[in-house]
Symmetry: C3
Subunit: 345 residues, 3 copies
């Protein structure tokens, strides 16, 4: 835990104007609901405003028009334009202060092949493997049990967490974060059918990951069949996502957990995908398209907007009746049309 | 395989009354369909009763009213109140007898940081990593390639299987079992949007796992943003499940494979979730709620019961017609209402 | 990259008849869209025929009736019966030529238990673990960080990629490929309910994987409860798939990413499953059944054909209206029937 901090220190670190006691002690960051006097909290959503009346948080990051409500209760307000963003900055500053960076150097148990190029400040953890031809830029961190394949390039200050795996020839941009268990550059799923059997198509491309990309735990990004699978700058992928070969994901798109993207889909920039959304292959999704959780994209979508497709959940008995009827929906429409005709004559 | 056993030994181990030849040899446990005379089998579901007539199983665990059918065929019945539970107990006794526990001690290839506290009987496998500040209670097993992060606490007799990963500060209860490839305590998926980009919110909480929890292979449980993600006592999670940050899962709830739970969802006790069920974020599910496979929970459910929401599968041609009509369902209702009005005048 | 090749070399390697300049240099394999004069490409789908007019590919693998279009533009045609299959063969030949096989031998950092049996040509990578009683046939490759459990049998020329894990007693056929992070032989999800708690059923079976099977990254195949979980010859499983205990998958069936198969399902031969298809437990799927992506199989399917069940995606506002109406679909049918009766009187 960070010690000896005050509200003024927080303001100095993340910007904003202090209203009330600038010397108030800050010991932890917490949600308004669970705060005490030593907690710095934040109000991001207007609908949570009533919490300001009940919270014990000694310091609260707020927009200007919420400051009075904090100060009148004897607490300290830290006024910023965007409290949620300020909270994000606070967490980053907090962690940087609390946790010293991994010391540079190669753990004696790691295996680094001859000829690997490492810039200053690189840290390699226990039992990590770095294969021949890999190039690690300054401040790269390869944690315990991570595997950096042959010829892989890791950009400045990128972080390969414990047990993440990068296959041969993949390239990763600056400040990218690869979480534990992710597999970057396994073979794409490619087989030619022949007389009822599947014949392997070797996957000759690699994976290209841009700057500031984050890839979640146990997520998979397959290497391309011929060209590279591409994850552009600033993309954020949550856990247990499957990105098939030849996919391209546009910059600053974010996907929640359990999403699947089939081969050769091209996804635009600034899109969002709810958890378990599924995108079929060989289609195109434009910029600023937002897909709801558990929805399945079966053809291209070029118009920006929010799209959904989920069967509504219901008590099991109701669902059974409606689902059974759904299997006759087309006939129902015919029957309705027949009635309409009859009625109009 | 266990050798030299008789039906009487089985009864002594798991309880129950022997009817017929108590000295019958038992060499293996098997299903009624694939059994021979040396097999101990069980009848759990009344609908499978006809199998008693055809099975060659020499010993069968049954309820009292099924015993005669076994004995009359010259086989041995082991009468218990709950045959399925007795079978479960039998498998545990069988394995304990068959497989000696891992010998206590640290494999010479493992890396254990200075200052780790280990109670007696701890076993650490090849290439395992135990980071500084970790506390391992008695009889803990950390298998090959498992990673126990900084300050992690492992409860008595808990088992971290090969290649499971526990991030810094996570706590695990007694007798918990973490299967291969699971990732406990990766960062929750938290970013603040700013001018079309995503700014990282460091995740300051950890994961708290109760006693007797089991977590499946390649399942992920993310650390909380501020507080801990909590998996209460007795919860059973299957493989490839995603539990997002700040989720709380109530005691003795079970989830089948591929389930996803989005951030800050609060799930009750004694719930069950079929495979690939998806739970959206920031909602509440009460106790004794049962969600069918592949169903999506989009709002809170407080009333106990079974809930479903799945598009029924059909021959592709039928599905296409019904799905197309479904996109006009709202209009169909309007047309129906119009007809009703017309008809009632 | 392969150097010094000509179109004639390609023909010699994969068969087919050269039309045009057989001495044309070939430096890379590429798609028609991104090709240059040194590229060998292929035309597999008739609908892409227009690309032959625009592509700069110097050498193109085509069917006989497309050859003229290539040659007339001054390019070289390689005529085969099945261009896609020829492309697959080309990629395999290309990789075999480009990448020397891993040298046989055990990396000094690997842990191989006493008494493991290894045939000639076996290669074991850094930090791999091979437990007691394992049997590795000729040319087996166990890559970095892979774990081969107690008594596991690996067939000739099978490949266990980096960080793949095989639990005790599992058997793998010849030429099988297990990709990074897959977990073969974790415990099946088996518990007996008792007074609101779950009592562990130890899983006594193993996993049996046939010849020429490929299993994707982070995919899980659980061990059977009593008998083995079985993946027959030639099955191809993509990434992040969950195969529960006691499942049997028939030969040459293929499953795309994120599919889930629940316990004891029996799946036929030559089936295909689109991404994220879900198969419930204890049911049977016949041979030559094809399940569309994201569709849920809730009961047995014996008739060959294509089956689908997906809620169609739509603009969010439309979806909301249709989904709400869907919850009353059964009543709508009643109202329609009432109108029909009234109208027929």
């Amino acid at each position: 835990m960070n010690g000896g901090l005050t509200a003024a220190d927080i303001a100095a670190a993340i910007g904003g104007e202090v209203r009330g006691d600038a010397g108030r002690a800050v010991v932890r960051i917490g949600a308004l609901e669970h705060a005490d006097g030593d907690t710095v909290s934040f109000l991001a959503q207007p609908r949570l405003r009533p919490l300001l009346q009940s919270s014990a948080a000694g310091t609260v990051i707020v927009r200007a028009d919420d400051a009075d409500q904090v100060v009148v209760r004897g607490h300290t307000a830290l006024v910023v334009a965007d409290p949620y963003r300020a909270y994000a900055a606070l967490t980053r500053w907090w962690v940087a202060r609390e946790r010293p960076p991994e010391p540079a150097g190669v753990h004696p148990s790691a295996y680094v092949a001859p000829g690997v190029r490492m810039a200053p400040g690189v840290s390699i953890g226990p039992f990590a493997v770095v294969e021949a031809g890999a190039v690690l830029a300054a401040q790269v961190r390869v944690a315990a049990h991570a595997i950096v394949g042959e010829g892989v390039q890791l950009g400045e200050a990128s972080c390969v967490h414990a047990r993440a795996t990068l296959g041969r020839g993949c390239r990763v941009g600056a400040r990218a974060v690869l979480h534990s268990g992710c597999v970057i550059g396994a073979d794409g799923f490619g087989f030619a059918p022949h007389q009822g059997r599947w014949e392997k198509i070797e996957q000759l491309g690699a994976v290209w990951i841009g700057d500031d990309v984050e890839i979640g735990a146990n997520t998979c990004v397959d290497r391309g069949a011929l060209d590279d699978t591409v994850i552009e700058d600033g993309v954020k992928l949550d856990n247990l996502i499957q990105i098939a070969h030849n996919v391209r994901i546009g910059a600053h798109t974010a996907m929640a957990g359990c999403v699947g993207v089939a081969g050769s889909a091209r996804i635009g920039r600034h899109c969002t995908f709810g958890g378990a959304a599924m995108i079929l292959g060989h289609l195109e999704i434009g910029d600023h398209v937002h897909i709801s959780a558990a929805s399945v994209v079966m053809s291209s979508i070029t118009k920006p907007g929010q799209y959904s497709g989920v069967f509504p959940i219901d008590e099991n008995g109701n669902w059974e009746k409606n689902a059974a009827t759904l299997r006759q929906l087309h006939q129902l429409r015919h029957r309705l049309r027949a009635l309409e005709k009859k009625s109009s004559t």
